[in-house]
Symmetry: C3
Subunit: 260 residues, 3 copies
């Protein structure tokens, strides 16, 4: 029983996500559909990618992930299927894959279901649902694709690394106010090499000098830094909201200075 | 494996929708339950009908649709099962069917499960879930109904048609700010007969003179009109919010003037 | 096919709940997952318990309920599985069970999956999902637990009963503005013994002298009291919001005075 996940900016108020589900069930009744989230900010590929990057490996290999954010096919933004790390991803080639994978995926096929991609106002339903059901039903992908596709190269912002400094950004603020940076545990170890450090953000007096293992390692209401479930650096308040307390939002700079 | 969909005004914060699901699974474990939306404005049959009208055909024939909006049984508002276009609809006869179907459905049965309909404060769970599970389980509908029912006739607002003008209304504003009118492609073609036209709304200088095929046929930030996935006229901004930009809300007049 | 339900404070915007689902499906593909709600106020065990208390019996016996609210394991707050009334409950022993059950559950086992409980920042995924999948898969609970556990005793607020008075509190305000009190039908009958009564709240002139059977037993816009689907006293407005009209919120006193 294949799993199809949905990551969209369609919201939960409207009936659009249900339309996609109905279409998938009509074409492949035995599938299991799981919402990643429908509350991606409109057209925000970076948040879509971050949300899926942190979840898709929790699903069984062979799962099919529909990305319904900025899904319209354009001259420079084709509908594609990507097979990577044992999972299928269905999306427009709109830059989302630059954020989603650390390396450029090589198994990329151009979707080709007659002319629907060009004609529809609702490609997540009319194209992506059909492709997902096709794959979930065990049919050959070649029947609905027209050969290999090279993803358009779109640069994503990455942390700046110097010998004593990592300069990154807040890339995600969750609904509890935890702030995730684009600084991974691997980068932290590589640059830091075990040295003492100071994490700085927003104001000169905001400083954290150690990495906690879990939230409640500091007293309630205290700030902390940890590497979260996704191995990204996270600034948090134990049982509180770091984004509110520090007035931090996505895009703000988070810097780690290592001692000489 | 039958599908049961839920369209309610119960919201997502509370546990009520989950109660309905639990009851259905208890009575018929093999069913698949899909949320259309639980964010219908309270008691708003028109939005409930519009949401379901635009989605039910995406589901497989034989699907069962629970409408849990204004569901209490009253003297003039009985609990009914409607079979139409290959789908089952379970609701109170509160006017929702006048909006949902273009023609009056003829296969309408009065629900009759002992006296539960009269006694419950939560008919979507205590009555509709039981009826849905009964149908999903392949049992005879006659066991839980007491013969034919004539739906109460409640008029819905329809566009005014003149020889050179269609005068309709905004009936739905989605979370992206797209505005759907009660003007269908069929009506547009029938009155327009290929003539030039001007779509007017809100202010005299808001005017659209052509129908686009998709959102990005106009530059980003520009207004457009198209017939959406549901064949209703939609006023939109490419990658923007028409309802915000034009200050439009549900009920506002949208008029199409055709040239002589 | 086992059912796993989720009650968390993770919200619907983020991808966290989807991570939990992915993990469960990876470990036990045949399971059915149902959201109770993900909009429990952060760390609010009382609302979590109330939400689950009112829904779990709607699900089939043998269902598995994950409570992902304040889930971190601490010295005095261990990860446990509780088996009660034919259902499994997986949670941290954080006080939620004092609100969830009227009697102290006796079948309580301490979860013991290597050291994951201590090390994770996301126990609802790393611990609770694994335990749920283990139980759903029909494996022996003893494999993932280390013997009996005595729940930490945490007192919950209960109504004060006198010979002529019940003094309770608003414990839940739903999204429609209905206000549920911690006064049950059983308590009402036991103290009242059929006497006349007056329900008082907020202001001296707010008074209700009878119990309705359903909302529309009073005219639209009128206040009423009834015992809801969960047998708790509920203050409501027919087709309106009691919490808005009376300015009532959780914790406010609701008193019933019986005549001598």
């Amino acid at each position: 029983m294949a799993i199809v996940t949905l990551t969209t900016d369609l919201g939960t108020k409207d009936f659009y996500a249900a339309s996609i589900k109905g279409r998938i069930y009509s074409l492949c009744p035995s599938v299991t559909i799981v919402d990643i989230t429908h509350e991606i900010p409109p057209f925000d590929n970076e948040i879509a990618a971050y949300s899926l990057k942190n979840t898709f490996k929790d699903f069984p290999k062979g799962s099919i992930h529909i990305i319904g954010v900025d899904p319209v096919e354009k001259e420079n933004q084709k509908h594609v299927v990507v097979f990577q790390d044992g999972h299928y991803f269905i999306s427009a080639d709109n830059g989302v894959f630059s954020f989603l994978f650390n390396k450029i995926p090589r198994q990329v096929l151009k979707i080709n279901i007659s002319d629907i991609s060009k004609e529809t106002t609702f490609p997540a339903k009319d194209v992506f649902a059909a492709v997902a059901a096709h794959i979930a039903g065990g049919k050959a992908i070649t029947e609905i694709t027209s050969g290999k596709h090279i993803l358009v190269d779109r640069n994503s912002i990455v942390p700046t690394l110097e010998s004593n400094t990592i300069s990154g950004h807040a890339i995600y603020v969750d609904s509890m106010g935890n702030i995730t940076a684009d600084i991974t545990k691997a980068t932290f170890k590589q640059v830091g090499m075990g040295r003492d450090f100071e994490i700085r953000f927003r104001r000169p007096d905001n400083s954290i000098k150690k990495i906690s293992s879990y939230y409640n390692q500091v007293p309630k209401g205290e700030k902390l830094a940890l590497f979260n479930n996704c191995n990204n650096l996270e600034i948090a308040i134990n049982e509180g909201s770091a984004s509110k307390l520090f007035g931090m939002k996505r895009g703000d700079i988070i810097r780690i200075n290592f001692s000489d």
